[in-house]
């Protein structure tokens, strides 16, 4: 994957955001901003990224709008990657920090399980293992130096880092546990659970095998080099050296991949932004694409901006805050509201009459009422009552899902409220434009002295440093 590409599309989107910002000055309602995006006919469509998005919110605080509105952006947006199929944006009355979710994430990524597996360490014919290479501490020279020990050392270090990022020991424990579950004879009594278990098992096993194969390959090339030297085979030696160099280059990419190996990292996600105090400034953007959640989760927290407000005629310095939440969109339908048959009332419209054999009508319109919420859905277009019922059910389902999403968002908004008002601990980054210029991530201490570039969307450095900082600490 190309980070430059990522950066470029990020920038492009920010550029777009800037254009929109100037348009916004003329608009009187925050929601019309979203409408503008929808209407924007130009080809240079981009996406709104959180680091910029929330400034709109705080800036246009006085254009508050309490109505709830959902806007849909046309597909084809570039976000983290250029092949992102679609992006939707919602402006909901109360959307925000999803603490429950964050806790769940932290929980699921931390399996405190005992027991481990004494895995067979692969080694070369003379007993050299990857651990052994690391222990030898061979100097890593520049790639251009054709030194096998240097290549091997660099690759071994990468493998070490990759394992750390994959939380290797926990991964093995988890794999063992999943294998045990899979062997239970009653596993398929609960097919949904069974499916989940076997999917996770398959994915973890795949990751483990890939790393093992990489280790194996390293050791085989070393064997070949030793053999070539014994046999005085210069061709074989240079071929094997070349192969090692290739591995060394590949390993950098694998390191990066390992940063995004969390269970939900590959999901699409909602990015929710809420500005500091006063007015409504909540917006939800849907981001579709490979690893959307994996990247965006790095932005979760409170962002702080210090600058001379362009809206203050006295040119005073202002500090504003915005909270960002990121919610993964699970593909397995687990976000769907479970509907109880017994909560439904199904009605058929008809103009009185005895019905049954008395009547011949092609009208089989059906209305379904969800009794607990009063939400209804109707369908009359289908040719059978059964089909009308099925279509009405689908509509009812999406209405209830939407309602649930709003409800959760409202619930989470309480957290945000207290968070933005009092909790400084959750502040993750500050953007200072005055009196000095700097953007600093408070979690990693990563800093950049050119805030404009960051506000333009150059946040890859922040994301990567955060991801590696959170994963590369030593496994407990």
């Amino acid at each position: 994957m190309s980070f430059n590409m990522l950066k470029r599309s990020w920038r492009k989107s920010l550029h777009f955001a800037e254009i929109q910002r100037s348009q916004l000055v003329c608009s009187s309602r925050f929601s019309s901003f979203l409408n503008k995006i929808v209407e924007n006919p130009s080809g240079s469509r981009g996406d709104l990224v959180p680091s910029n998005w929330f400034w709109f919110a705080s800036k246009y605080r006085h254009f508050s709008d309490s109505s709830s509105q959902v806007a849909t952006l046309p597909s084809g947006y570039g976000f983290y990657r250029k092949n992102i199929p679609g992006c939707r944006s919602y402006l909901l009355p109360d959307i925000n920090f999803c603490y429950g979710f964050l806790q769940g994430l932290a929980f699921s990524s931390r399996f405190r399980l005992l027991g481990s597996q004494a895995a067979m360490e692969p080694s070369t014919s003379d007993g050299l293992t990857v651990e052994g290479i690391l222990a030898n501490n061979w100097t890593v020279l520049d790639e251009s130096e054709n030194d096998w020990k240097s290549h091997a050392s660099a690759i071994a270090q990468s493998i070490h880092l990759i394992k750390k990022r994959l939380q290797w020991k926990k991964l093995i424990v988890r794999l063992n546990m999943l294998s045990m579950e899979l062997n239970k004879p009653d596993l398929w009594d609960d097919p949904v659970h069974a499916g989940k278990i076997s999917r996770e098992h398959g994915s973890l096993l795949g990751k483990m095998k890939e790393v093992k194969a990489f280790e194996q390959e390293l050791l085989e090339h070393i064997d070949m080099i030793k053999l070539a030297r014994e046999e005085d085979d210069a061709d074989l030696e240079s071929e094997s050296l070349k192969a090692l160099l290739n591995m060394r280059r590949n390993s950098k990419e694998k390191e990066l991949e390992a940063l995004l190996s969390g269970e939900q990292d590959s999901c699409s996600c909602f990015i929710e932004v809420q500005a500091g105090a006063g007015g409504i400034k909540r917006a939800t953007i849907k981001v579709d694409g490979e690893h959307a959640f994996g990247y965006a989760k790095s932005e979760v927290g409170v962002h702080r901006l210090v600058r001379i407000s362009p809206f203050d005629s006295n040119k005073r310095r202002h500090t504003s805050f915005a909270a960002v939440a990121v919610i993964p969109i699970m593909g397995d339908g687990s976000t769907r509201v479970q509907i109880n048959e017994s909560d439904l009332r199904i009605e058929r419209f008809r103009s009185g009459g005895a019905g049954g054999q008395h009547a011949n009508t092609t009208d089989s319109a059906v209305r379904i009422v969800h009794i607990p919420t009063g939400v209804t859905a109707t369908c009359q277009n289908e040719r059978s009552q059964h089909q009308n019922k099925a279509s009405a059910m689908a509509v009812l389902q999406s209405r209830l899902d939407q309602l649930e999403m709003t409800r959760q968002a409202q619930m989470n908004a309480h957290h945000t409220q207290s968070l933005t008002d009092i909790t400084w601990g959750s502040q993750i980054r500050s953007y200072v434009l005055h009196p000095y210029r700097m953007v600093k991530d408070l979690r990693t201490n990563y800093e950049v002295s050119d805030p404009d570039s960051v506000l333009e969307g150059d946040i890859d450095g922040f994301i990567l440093s955060y991801l590696s900082a959170s994963l590369d600490k030593d496994e407990e």
Binding site: E347, G353, G356, Q357, A359, N360, T362, S384
Partner: protein
């Protein structure tokens, strides 16, 4: 109603004779009806949507027909509704759309109706036929389902034709009731079921698709046309090994499974004879009277079925009957409770989606 009641109990054993005037005009007398004789002479009609697309028409001609048909439908307004609770023009327009769907092979043409050019359209019926069909619909009140030769019922598309009752949306609910019972009692899934008076085969086919490996449905009808059409539908859903068709009167073709049935369902004729003349034109003028006329109070066949159910069902076996409404449901439950010497338990009355008490269900003790 109450007065004729007790006599109906006795008469119920001979329902066909009570209606013989109707029956003989259409079918052979009961005595000569034979079992499991699949009529080979009767060739069921192929529904429009399954006919080969061998006609080609200029789009402009199709559009002229459509405009004509639409204005005809619109001109009806609520005339039919007022005269006999028939369709209004918006429903007729919806039917017109479905007729086009069934007749035109390439559906995308339907969206281009606006810009008429020299394009030709491939169709399953020629435009002349469409004119005549729509005329029949409006002028003769011929049911839409007979025009297109099919009815969408549950998730099935069933072939229907003159002489076979068009399955009703209400009846779909019998399938839900059976599904519910099957989900609670796996044993019934493997047993033999019977659908008496199967008509197009609707109930039998829907149940056949829910049964287990060993489950079977015996579907009977007195009408040879119904049996032929039901056989065609069974074949379309590849259920020949599951649904067995038998021609004959009610339980007559079922003698060899006496006391063995896991389930018995029926939507027998239940309209009181005196109401037949006032029926909606689509029903009264076009659907077979033997499928509708339930005798003086409409319950001749229902009582006959209740009596038979006691001897045909095995202990724990389930039954479900459709009725004319609340009154018939109550009479039936009363009869089952007090006049079948405690053969049944778990008796229930179930409403349809319009809120009319429509079904009586229960179990053999």
């Amino acid at each position: 109603m109450k007065l004729s009641f007790s006599s109906a109990y006795f008469a119920s054993n001979f329902p066909v004779f009570l209606k013989s005037s109707v029956v003989t005009s259409l079918y052979r007398p009961v005595s000569s009806s034979s079992q499991s004789c699949l009529p080979t002479c009767l060739k069921p009609q192929v529904p429009l949507f399954l006919k080969p697309p061998i006609y080609s028409t200029a789009l402009s001609d199709l559009k002229s027909w459509h405009d004509w048909a639409k204005s005809l439908a619109t001109s009806i307004g609520s005339t039919f509704v007022e005269s006999d609770n028939g369709p209004d023009s918006s429903l007729l327009c919806r039917e017109l759309k479905w007729l086009m769907e069934d007749a035109v092979e390439d559906q995308s043409v339907l969206t281009q109706m606006g810009n008429v050019n020299n394009q030709t359209v491939i169709m399953r019926a020629d435009v002349e036929e469409l004119y005549s069909l729509w005329k029949q619909r409006i002028e003769d009140r011929r049911p839409f389902q007979y025009l297109v030769g099919c009815e969408h019922w549950k998730d099935l598309v069933l072939s229907v034709q003159d002489g076979v009752l068009i399955p009703r949306p209400e009846t779909e609910h019998i399938i839900d009731l059976v599904a519910d019972v099957l989900s609670k009692n796996e044993g019934l899934r493997q047993g033999v079921w019977a659908d008496l008076g199967t008509g197009s085969g609707a109930i039998a086919i829907a149940i056949g698709r829910m049964l287990g490996k060993c489950g079977r449905v015996i579907a009977t009808d007195f009408s040879p046309v119904a049996v032929a059409v039901a056989a065609y539908n069974v074949q379309r859903y590849c259920l020949q090994d599951v649904v067995q068709l038998k021609q004959g009167s009610w339980f007559e073709p079922l003698k060899n499974v006496e006391g063995k049935l896991a389930g018995l369902v029926s939507n027998p004729p239940y309209i009181p004879s005196k109401d037949i003349t006032g029926l909606q034109a689509e029903v009264g003028r076009h659907e077979p009277r033997v499928a509708l006329d339930g005798g003086i109070n409409g319950m001749d066949d229902l009582f006959h079925l209740c009596n038979g159910a006691a001897s045909m069902l095995k202990p724990g076996g389930f039954f479900a009957f459709e009725t004319n409404g609340e009154q018939q449901c109550k009479h039936l439950v009363d009869y089952l409770e007090n006049h079948t010497s405690g053969s049944f338990c778990g008796l229930k009355i179930e409403p349809d989606f319009a809120g009319i008490q429509r079904f009586v269900t229960g179990f053999r003790q």
